[in-house]
Amino acid sequence: MLEAQSLNKSYGRQKVLDNVNLCFKSGQSISLIGPNGSGKTTFLKCILGLVVPDSGEIFLSGLPISGKWDYRQRLGYMPQIGRYPDNMRVGQLFDMILDIRMGRFKNLDRELMESFEIEKFSDKSMRTLSGGMRQKVSACLAFLFDPDILILDEPTAGLDPFSTEILKEKVLREKQKGKLVLITSHILSDLEELSSDVIYIMDGKVQFFKSIDELRAQTGEEKLNRALARIMQEKN
């Protein structure tokens, strides 16, 4: 459903994406793992069109996305750091996003808004929200329009354990509905529960793209963190 072909991007002299070729099917839930600054977020931002690659192309259902905008109806994005207009209230933010969509969506999914009890702080201004509350707002916005593809950039960072569980359950339910889920995180235990496949990126290069079962079989380790450690050792 989503395909990246020889994607390249550099910021100045630093190469953040180096000939990335990936192909994802719907129903897959993919973890992007890699050290800080390895290009995970840049790759996700390329899919969203927030970052324009130097060369290469991304295809969604066979159609190139460069210069397009309406394909973003099918994406739900939860940024790493949710930054929102300071002088807007939470309720206003949701109203505005709904207004901008002009009714062009299949159906609204307010499930997460209810679980996180967004209503309770809808009168608070975005400025006064804590990091975790911002994360909740970001998560609700990502799921709100029932998108085909979920792009979650470190979704659980800053969330309390209880909310993390709610979010994880939600992601699993959406995955079972046959959606494509892309997650980056540094918390491997979370990823292990959520994802079917793992991509390891380092210095902008895709090191491997394997299913979790494959990884387990290959390394003989049950835990994802151990399996990864084993692979890294073998590479070195």
């Binding site: 927030l50 324009v52 109806q73 930054r83």
Partner: protein
């Protein structure tokens, strides 16, 4: 697009600096018109104040607003909204806000004290200048990522157009006084939007003493009406071309 412009405008109108700016324009206008019985003198006094202050406020305010809306822009860019539409909305939001300020701060006093051709050409000149400097500000902000650097760049641009440019033109005039350079000077005036606005008002006032060298050349070559039409079309170009370049840059910008 109007939906997004609405949110941009709502955000700007709440800004206290803009309200202060409008009040400042309003009271300066009323004050200068009340200084003498002749409204023409009021208009002349206002040209000198406005041609410095209005470009400065327009360019700095627009730049700061752009950087402060970065989160908003980022949020919209991840939604199914066209990139160019996002920047156009910022532009129109700022233009409407500046229009409102000039309308209240300059338009109303002019209608009360000096509803003459000169008064209205002052009004349209400062309106045009506001547009020009919003447009330049957005181009500069799109090109510079860092807020402090962006504000520095636009301050330099303002300094150049408001002060430095005239000094350079004067210097060239003295240095090359032996050559017939009238047409070249005409070209040089056309390059600076602030000079153009000044000439457009002075042409209406019919005071050759104040018109200066460039104004005199303008009249000689173009006559009053052609001169004004020419001045406004160049101002229009100044308002649109930087913005069109900004849109091109913004479409490929990494957010």
């Amino acid at each position: 697009m109007l939906r997004i412009v609405k949110y941009v405008l709502l955000d700007i109108i709440q800004n206290k600096i803009l309200i202060g700016y409008t009040l400042f324009l309003f009271f300066v206008s009323i004050g200068l018109f009340n200084l003498s019985d002749d409204p023409t003198k009021g208009v002349i006094g206002l040209i000198n104040v406005f041609l410095t202050v209005i470009p400065l406020v327009s360019i700095v305010f627009s730049t700061i607003h752009f950087y402060n809306s970065y989160e908003f822009i980022e949020l919209l860019a991840s939604q199914p909204v066209k990139r160019s539409l996002i920047l156009w909305s910022q532009f129109w939001g700022l233009v409407f806000a500046m229009l409102l300020s000039v309308l209240i701060g300059v338009g109303i006093p002019i209608i009360i004290f000096s509803p003459t051709a000169a008064g209205f050409s002052l009004f349209f000149s400062v309106l045009g200048l506001s547009l020009v400097f919003v447009s330049i500000a957005l181009l500069a902000s799109v090109l510079t990522r860092d807020k402090a650097k962006g504000i520095g760049v636009v301050l330099l641009l303002w300094f150049f157009f408001a002060l430095l440019y005239d000094a350079i033109v004067l210097f060239m005039m003295f240095a090359l006084a032996d050559y017939p350079l009238e047409k070249v000077m005409l070209l040089f005036v056309s390059i600076n939007p602030i000079d153009l606005a000044r000439v457009a008002v002075l042409l209406q006032l019919d005071i050759s003493a104040l018109m200066g060298y460039t104004g005199a050349i303008f009249r000689e070559f173009l006559g009053t009406w052609w001169g004004i039409a020419y001045a406004f079309s160049i101002l229009f170009a100044w308002a649109t071309i930087p913005m069109l370049i900004a849109i091109r840059v913004f479409r490929k910008k990494d957010l």
